[in-house]
């Protein structure tokens, strides 16, 4: 009997001279954890480490109490793992059903009837129940993304790692996806990386913000959002004192951070506001750190 959990201690990962992750300590339990951060922050590297696709350069990773560095234990982890990478290529000529069925076979579901039923179940979950016979190459980007998600959901894995699962997915499907993940997260560790803060706000109990390979924030979503309380306001003009301002659909300007004045109309902060504040109001890409020589 093993607890569904993930533990990282002092985990780092370098690619040549580039340090993608450094000194990451995390403990993940069943529930949905969101991973936020700018491009190049190390999110995908962290997810690949959790998915046993990549070994760490430093530190220790434990998934389900097993060590992914040990081949037999890695196989043990993979038996309970679902992984949707950031980009999935598909073999030529495969239909959605055939591809997911092939992956199900690789997940040791050798009984055809049970496997086919499971494939149909996950395709239904992602809204592709009626498109199983369609060739993947003929599908839209969002549909392909859902095929990739379907294979990750096979067998209701104890650990589900999703790298930008909602990219290119329409709003209705995103809502359905949230429901699916919330249900799975009752017993499974679900980690999802995304640039969509609204997905994290709607789904995750916990959020981890990565920045240049380091954990910048790790805690409840509500707590992070709370940090922006009183620091977001609406005004008729962009406030020079704000760190970030933009024109909203109402024609007024949303100002975040900076020196707060009393004569403004404060509004409820969103997770995006809090994230921008945490990032110092800088949404731009910051490259990964170079390893000190």
């Amino acid at each position: 009997m093993v607890t569904a959990s993930i533990s990282l201690r002092g985990v780092g990962r370098t690619f040549g001279a580039t340090r993608a992750l450094a000194g990451v300590d995390l403990d993940l339990k069943p529930g949905v954890t969101g991973l936020l951060g700018p491009n190049g922050a190390g999110k995908t590297t962290l997810l690949r480490l959790l998915a046993t696709a990549l070994p760490p350069s430093q530190g220790q990773v434990s998934v389900l109490g097993l060590d992914p560095e040990v081949p037999a234990e890695r196989t043990g982890i993979r038996r309970h793992l679902g992984y949707q990478p950031q980009e999935t290529g598909f073999p030529r000529g495969f239909t959605a059903f055939a591809f997911v069925d092939y992956i199900a076979l690789l997940k040791e579901q050798s009984q055809p009837a049970a496997r086919h039923a499971e494939v149909r179940r996950v395709l239904d979950l992602v809204g592709l129940g009626g498109l199983g016979a369609k060739r993947i190459r003929a599908m839209s980007g969002g549909q392909r993304r859902r095929v990739s998600l379907a294979q990750a959901l096979l067998g209701s894995p104890a650990v589900l790692i999703l790298d930008e699962p909602t990219t290119g997915v329409d709003p209705e499907q995103r809502v359905v996806l949230r429901a699916v993940l919330a249900e799975l997260a009752r017993t499974s560790v679900v980690v999802l990386s995304t640039h969509q803060t609204e997905d994290v706000a709607a789904l995750c109990e916990r959020v981890i913000v990565l920045d240049r390979g380091r954990v910048r924030y790790d805690g409840p979503v509500t707590e992070l959002t709370g940090q922006a309380a009183g620091r977001v306001w609406l005004a008729d003009e962009p406030d020079p004192a704000a760190k970030v301002s933009w024109r909203t659909g109402t024609g007024r300007y949303r100002n975040v951070g900076g020196r707060v004045r009393d004569d403004v109309e404060h509004v409820e902060p969103s997770l995006e506001d809090a994230y921008l504040l945490l990032r110092g109001g800088s949404p731009e890409h910051e490259p990964a750190q170079e390893v000190a020589s």
Binding site: V2, P71, G76, E87, T88, G89, P91, L105, K107, T187
Partner: protein, 289 residues
């Protein structure tokens, strides 16, 4: 919140049922491959059409299975092996290890091998082992000659395709290798024709996955060349084993990797010995009958 789940015991190898199901799946993909289908169709047509009238040597007909089942089979399995490369981020984190998936791919070679056996039977039906077109070889050696030219290449080519697919990224690698092998066999055959009594040339001729053992003489009759057809089959099978082991080596870790490397060493030594025996055995000089 912490849930307690029961996880299965760690194991590195898939169950027999999973492996069998995967091998069957890959086999189905091979038999639907257009290149392989074309190869089978061509061989079927060639066998159905039977021998040309007035054929005086077997060598005009027996390269076809090697070219189509072996060469085209190699290209088909190369494509099959490479086809999942784009999905490797997903496929690579499943419990089935890369060597196990490779083994399932190698298992598909049973199809061209089986068809090669049928082709051999058909060939022997049209070219009986007592046919003078075989030259001076004994009846058993005649069987060995055609088995080494028809059946073993049909097995080895697809296995080579899997090994190539595991290690080489260039999409046209199988075609290039096919042309290289074909050119090599053509070259050494021409050289052997002009130097039939040369021992080094005999070694060069046998240093291939396919070779000719006899040549129709312009002066009439068939000249049987140096070399032992039986040991040549042993050499070919050693090459097949090397192809499988090289393919399995990709992604192998720990003790499995150590065992594969050890087996590769043994297969390499065996191949070398069998090549020497193939060159030293059989006729020591060309014999025209």
């Amino acid at each position: 919140m912490t849930a307690t789940l029961a996880f299965g015991p760690p194991a590195t190898s898939p169950g027999r049922a999973t492996f069998t199901a995967l091998a069957i799946r890959e086999t189905r993909r091979l038999v639907l491959n257009p290149v392989f289908l074309f190869a089978v169709a061509f061989i079927t047509f060639a066998l159905w059409a039977g021998p040309d009238a007035g054929q005086t040597e077997i060598d005009t007909a027996n390269p076809y299975p090697a070219i189509f089942l072996g060469g085209f089979g190699m290209m088909a399995t190369y494509w099959l092996t490479r086809s999942m490369r784009a999905s490797e981020p997903v496929v690579g984190v499943t419990p089935i290890t890369l060597p196990a998936r490779t083994a399932a791919l190698c298992a598909v070679a049973i199809v061209p091998f089986g068809y090669g056996c049928l082709a051999l039977i058909a060939f022997l039906h049209f070219h009986s082992a007592s046919d003078p077109a075989y030259g001076a070889f004994s009846p058993s050696a005649r069987i060995a000659v055609v088995a080494g030219q028809i059946v073993v290449p049909a097995l080895g080519g697809p296995l080579l395709g899997v090994a190539l697919g595991r290690w080489v990224r260039f999409p046209g690698a199988a075609l290039v290798l096919f042309l290289v092998l074909w050119s090599w066999v053509s070259l050494v055959t021409v050289v052997a024709g002009s130097h039939p009594d040369s021992a080094p040339v005999a070694v060069l001729r046998l240093f291939a996955g396919f070779t000719f053992f006899a040549l129709h003489s312009d002066a009439g009759g068939v000249t049987a060349w140096r070399g032992s057809p039986w040991f040549f089959i042993g050499w070919q099978l050693a090459l097949c084993a090397i192809a499988v082991l090289v393919a399995l080596l990709r992604g192998a870790e720990g003790r499995v990797r150590t065992r594969i490397i050890r087996a590769l060493g043994i297969a390499g030594v065996a191949a070398l010995i069998l090549l020497v025996l193939a060159a030293a055995g059989g006729f020591t000089h060309p014999v025209t009958a």
